[in-house]
């Protein structure tokens, strides 16, 4: 201890009580609260998984509906996942639109993110502003604007309009993600490659792009997740081309088929496992 911070031994601190550790039971209030909160957040997930194993009863020729009470354990719905053609089609639609729009948004957003991170150019401020607006605009306003646009053009809504719209709302998120990665990169690495005789193109492909890759991958996954989860924009731009969330929403009026919960459980387990693996891999790499 240095001389400056050493207190004269005889001086008593006033209100020494304030420094004593907290009373024993109050120490547990916050951790207990956080645990309770996390249970609350995941409670619907438990219910979805639980009720995907719930039996149904009755139903005269109609497709089964999940009951709100527990009727008994069954794995029936996992064996009959693809029984409802409309539901299966809506999932396919969501996956196809999700992958394609995420690819398009990743391509466009990566380029824009690079431009914003490394170049000062005319219109940079307005580009920034438009990106900010497209992220912060309320979904219902964005959906209504897109619907107005397609109505005004006389375009019938379907796969095409969904792809255009999903790509649109994902671009800003990819841009922000890639830009954050790109502005953290040491540009002298690229310069070093060129000093060692690489052409600008080679330096970009062999040095910059691999360094950007985690940002680009994160952007793609974010865009895909946003597209899969999107409800509002889809509802306004899909026309008769149903997506998974909008199909589920439509079926709430008559009752949810148990297949929906089975699919949701599979998607949840797959997604959470993949995310966990990615997180562990990136941690191991340091």
């Amino acid at each position: 201890m240095s001389a400056v911070t050493t207190r004269p031994p005889d001086v008593r601190l006033p209100e020494a009580v304030a420094r004593t550790p907290r009373k024993r039971w109050t120490r547990f209030i916050l951790p207990t609260y956080v645990t309770a909160f996390i249970l609350y957040l995941s409670f619907p997930i438990f219910i979805i998984i639980l009720f995907s194993f719930n039996q149904t009863r009755g139903g005269f020729g109609t497709s089964p509906r999940v009951k709100t009470t527990w009727l008994g354990f069954t794995t029936e719905w996992y064996g009959r996942l693809f029984d409802l053609p409309d539901l299966t089609a809506s999932l396919e639609h969501s996956l196809v639109v999700g992958v394609l729009s995420a690819l398009a948004a990743t391509a466009l957003g990566t380029l824009l993110g690079l431009a914003l991170a490394r170049h000062r150019f005319r219109g940079r401020g307005s580009a920034d502003f438009v990106i900010f607006l497209s992220i912060s605009a309320p979904e219902i306003v964005l959906g209504a604007a897109l619907a107005s646009f397609f109505v005004a053009l006389g375009v019938s809504r379907g796969f095409g309009t969904l792809f255009l719209s999903h790509t649109l709302f994902s671009i800003a998120f990819v841009t922000v993600t890639v830009r954050a990665r790109a502005s953290g990169l040491d540009r002298s690495l690229e310069a070093a490659a060129m000093d060692l005789g690489a052409t600008p193109a080679t330096a970009f492909l062999k040095v910059t792009l691999p360094l950007l890759a985690p940002g680009i991958l994160a952007g793609f996954l974010l865009a895909f997740a946003l597209s899969m989860d999107d409800f509002v924009i889809s509802q306004f731009t899909q026309g008769p081309f149903q997506m998974f969330p909008t199909w589920v929403f439509g079926s709430t009026r008559v009752g949810i088929p148990p297949h929906v919960f089975a699919f949701a459980t599979i998607i949840f387990v797959t997604g959470a496992t993949l995310a966990l693996m990615l997180a562990l891999m990136s941690r191991r790499r340091g």
Partner: protein
């Protein structure tokens, strides 16, 4: 007095290193900006134009610059707008109160397990929010695991219900948005230097004073962001009112009206006018809020 002659360094430097005025940034940015222009900026103008038109979906719409669409829309749907703003305010305050202690504890006491806690907070996002909302309608249903159990024990009367009430709608929106409240709070709390808190305690502040005078003020940028990230989607939400409110009288929000006008009634001008009114209210609210909270320091954070 004589200065040494400065060599013209830029003449020696290799050509490539000089900042080039290149077309690269324009080539890189134009595809995305074109997409944003065509599918974000222009649609906003299309909606503005549509909001001033007259007609029906069968006969077509004509541009008549009928500004009365706006006054009509407000007069007919003022109740829904006010209810949405009230619900949004309640959700925002509730989410802040629920989220702050969680963000605080993870940021200050999460230790090595911070990323584990963050992962747990993001877990619900792996299931579509529509399905999570449906799950709440199961949990809160009249004979579901909570109400059904309480009724069979006899704590609640048989007629008691939660679905179809404003409470269910507000609780549902709060559930959906509380992760978006936590994340900005966590980011700003995580950046606080713990030594500042220790310094406060060294200067004989109590725990409460250290929190109120040091931690809380330093986390205000996070609170600012959290309020915006929570209130804007809360005011515009219409899924919870549909799934948990069951369209019971007094539960529908402005989003439900816009959705119905666009997708069921096909009264596009009224829907468009309402969407603009909603956006206008939000923009004005956000600007006033930013002004009230005041400093540039906050908007930077």
């Amino acid at each position: 007095m004589e200065r040494p002659v400065q060599p013209d360094l830029h003449l020696i430097a290799p050509k490539e290193r000089r900042p080039r005025r290149s077309s690269a940034p324009y080539l890189l940015s134009s595809p995305a900006l074109l997409w944003l222009l065509l599918l974000f900026v222009i649609p906003m103008f299309a909606m503005a134009s549509l909001s001033l038109q007259e007609g029906t979906s069968l006969e077509g719409f004509r541009q008549t610059f009928r500004f009365a669409n706006y006054t009509d829309a407000i007069a007919e749907n003022g109740d829904f707008l006010l209810r949405s703003l009230r619900n949004g305010a309640i959700v925002t305050i509730a989410a802040l109160l629920i989220a702050y202690p969680v963000a605080y504890w993870i940021a200050f006491y999460g230790g090595r397990f911070k990323s584990v806690f963050l992962f747990l907070l993001l877990l619900p996002f792996f299931i579509s929010f529509v399905i999570r909302t449906v799950a709440w309608s199961f949990i809160l249903s009249d004979d579901g695991i909570i109400l059904g159990t309480l009724k069979s024990i006899g704590i609640l009367p048989e007629t008691y219900h939660v679905l179809g009430t404003t409470f269910a709608v507000i609780a549902g929106i709060t559930y959906n948005l509380v992760p978006f409240t936590i994340l900005p709070l966590y980011v700003s709390l995580e950046q606080i230097d713990h030594r500042l808190v220790e310094a406060a305690k060294d200067l004989y502040s109590s725990r409460r004073q250290a929190f109120l005078k040091v931690v809380l003020p330093l986390s205000m940028p996070g609170v600012f962001a959290a309020v915006l990230l929570t209130s804007i989607p809360a005011i515009g939400d219409y899924v919870n009112a549909a799934v948990l409110g069951n369209f019971a009288p007094g539960t529908a929000m402005i989003g439900n009206v816009i959705q119905t006008e666009f997708l069921r009634n096909r009264d596009y001008p009224e829907g468009a006018a309402l969407a603009f009114v909603l956006m206008g209210v939000m923009v004005v609210g956000a600007v006033i809020y930013a002004k009230l909270l005041g400093t540039e320091r906050i908007t930077e954070g």
